[in-house]
Amino acid sequence: MKTLAQEKLNVVNTPVEKVDGKALVRGKPVFTDDFDIPNTLTVKILRSPYAHAIIKSIDTSAAMIEGVACILTYKDVPHVIYTRAGQGYPEPSPYDTFVLDRKVRYVGDGVAIVAAENEIIAERAMKLIKVEYEVLPAVLDFEHAMDEGAPVIHDEAEITGAYDPKHNIAAHYEMEIGNVEEELKKCDYVVDEVYYTPNQSHAMMEPHGAISYFDPNGRLTVITSTQVPFHARRILKRIFGVNCRVIKPRIGGGFGGKQALHVEPYVVAVTLKTGRPAKCIYSREETMTASNTRHAMRFRARAGAMKDGTLRALELWGLSNTGAYGEHALTVFMVGGSKTLPLYNKVKAVKFGGDVVYSNTEPAGAFRGYGAPQGTFPLDSILDTLAHKIGIDPLEFKLKNSIREGETSPIFKIMGEGREGVDQIINSCKIEECAIEGAKEFGWYEKRKRPRIDQKRRIAHGYGVAFAMQGSSIPAIDMGGATIKMNDDGTFNLLVGATDLGTGSDTILAQIAAEVLHTKVEKIIVYSSDTDMTPFDKGAYASSTTYVSGNAVKIAAEKMKEEIIKAASEIMNKPVYALELDEDKVISDDGDTLSFSDLQTKLFYTFNQRQLEVTESFVSEVSPPPYLVSFAEVEIDLETGKVKVVDFLNYIDCGVPINPVLARGQVEGASAQGIGMALFEDHVMDKNGRLVTNDFFTYKIPARGDIGSIQVRFAKSYEPTGPFGAKSVSEIGLDTPGPAIANAIFDALGIRMRRLPIRSEDLFFEIKKKGL
């Protein structure tokens, strides 16, 4: 098998500038809301003030004031059930959503679509719509969604794919390998605890938004801030029965929040009704309260180990809140087990399962980590507790029991995304380097010799470590395509469906193409994510772009290389085996050269005339996990319970980072979001189900200075199935901050915090109880 030392790399593994970087730092008009199309209607959504209600009557006549083009209610839009989740087809999420329905299921659910000449008129009209509601009892606490007699949220006849909607169960899953109950009885030490993770908001800087219009030839076109343009096109076709072109411009962050259809059906409904361009840009409040959150989860976590530190049994039994609609319900929940438990593959028994329930709260959806942060928090926390019980270093305990190169886990085969998974042997796993070198870098052993509590200054310091894995793509399901076209000026167009949402995927895909074609990134002109122009790609999710789209680009570039050499052989009158690519030209073994520009020019005008162009696709049979060991140092104010992350060190095995600066940025950013989820980001709902935390004043994401230092180190790793040895890097960083910080607090104070975010007031009362 190939290793990194065998790769001679010129472009890959170097920090080239982002291909869209200059436009972004210049503030060019590249985002959805920056596009002005003449004659565009402004679209606003009237939203439900009630968590659960039936629309008894809706009267729009008084609202049809001058300047209003149309007002659409549930009577005016197609009554087609679908899922907003942008996933492979057929989707594993239940079909439980209409564009507008007679029933509203959370505060913020859509009631009417208003389209007007401008925003002022649209807002005035919204106030004039008369809606009479029959308010129903609501399920606001998801832990009571399955109670006897709980209100039924999805009683529509059309619903399909939900597990047991009459009892508010959107999805259910369970699996067991061995017998956890029996194995726990044999263990010297057992931990059995309950953990909670919150309904974190994505809080991407660019709110949701979309524009739709008919192009001059009557083709319906949608410009939208989406991670899934091809899924969006397919779902719009299902709802409205029309074909369309979906264009993804630059995206102002998504983090999974844009792996669903939010705005697109509203603008398309207006354009189809009026024939006019329609634009809808969500306010921050709508983005916060009426799109998606992370699935809040509760896990009962059990683990057992022997005196010698051998982990014997593991169980995660969960309850997940999917809110009013079931997008990503089953799959996010399963990832809570499938991308966490294989890390500890030496156990004799392992069990995972539980329910995903509906409630009358904002729908949950995909969010960076996709269930793995929810599963890693309880899993890593109980292992930490076990290590303390046994009396061994938690770092050594976790390392001793974790997976190694050449090994596998039966979970890979049993658990996929919404269905069975695939068998895989781990080809690259540098978790030992991550743990051992990370410990050195962090000063793990020295720091843990220090005293933890300074009573004089009333502060405490603690040190925690957390281990995580993720995946690289959804194997045997998700496909990416790439087209490469050669131009006579010596450049190439790289057309990909892959969806750069700020991650830099356009750049790293260009690097991969440039590496194969012996050219520079500047010569690779990337066009991405236009469903009429680029080949299909599943979209940006499941840590798949580098791996799946990257492999597609690599295969396409290799094919293009073959085509170039074949054409050059005809022109230069040399055998194919005597030719190689080198710095934008073909060279022969006797020193003849032909530049790419001359080659394609000849092919255009004078010799064996043809356009060199190739399209290739890639779908993976495996999903090689990246690995991460994170170390946290926290400082706790004993007077207030305030926790400050002083130092957060990530040691990651993501294979070969295609672009080290961009890869580092992915880990740093994910760490910050994870620290936000661990300490700051707390949604508060009033007794009627309205989110009180509906803006950046009340919902606290980490600001500059809220976090000490975040460090990133890369393990020397090479994944033989990845493009140039790469695995995924974008999600895994979010898995570790919760448990690493909680473990550090436990290390400092002996207090085990089992609910994220760890609010200072909660910790304060624990400190009081302990008399510290």
């Binding site: 500038e17 200059k22 060019k28 940025g665 910050a672 803006d695 950046f696 500059r704 230092s709």
Partner: protein, 154 residues
């Protein structure tokens, strides 16, 4: 009503609605580099400079800026060159999605004018009002320290 604004050194007479914010006016007349992130003066994406000071345009009435000097991101570089802050941001990976970047650059320009040699802590303190959800801030701090150094050496 009509107001006269000097935007990026160009004097413009603009017809506005009463109660219109500077964010709305600037975006309407084509300065799309001014970003709308929150409406509650929390995120800093809409930052512009008024008479050289960073100001949140989402909570500034256009009428109040009549006769003043407004500078948007479009006024900090041209098609042929980038500012040293812009370059450093690209080199350090300080821009991922890029949505917060115009506001960040405008605030950073004001910082470096007031304090050409800021410490890391001073950068963090000055830029606290500019939220970023992508980067975790580390790369942006590195970039601004780097740009400051570059600027001092000129």
């Amino acid at each position: 009503m009509k107001v006269n604004l000097k935007i990026n050194d160009k004097v413009q007479s603009v017809e506005i609605e009463p109660g219109e914010t500077l964010l709305e006016t600037l975006r309407r007349i084509g300065y799309k580099g001014v970003k709308h992130g929150c409406s509650t003066a929390s995120c800093g994406a809409c930052t512009v400079q008024i008479d050289g000071r960073p100001v949140l345009s989402c909570t500034t009435f256009t009428a109040a800026v009549d006769g003043h000097d407004v500078r948007t991101i479009e006024g900090f570089s041209d098609e042929n060159s980038l500012s040293d802050i812009q370059k450093a941001i690209l080199e350090e990976g300080g821009s991922q999605c890029g949505f917060c970047i115009p506001g960040l650059i405008i605030t950073s320009e004001a910082l470096l004018r007031e304090n050409p040699d800021p410490t890391e802590q001073e950068v963090i303190d000055y830029l606290k009002g500019n939220l970023c959800r992508c980067t975790g801030y580390e790369s942006q701090t590195r970039a601004i320290i780097k740009a400051a150094k570059e600027r001092r050496s000129k």
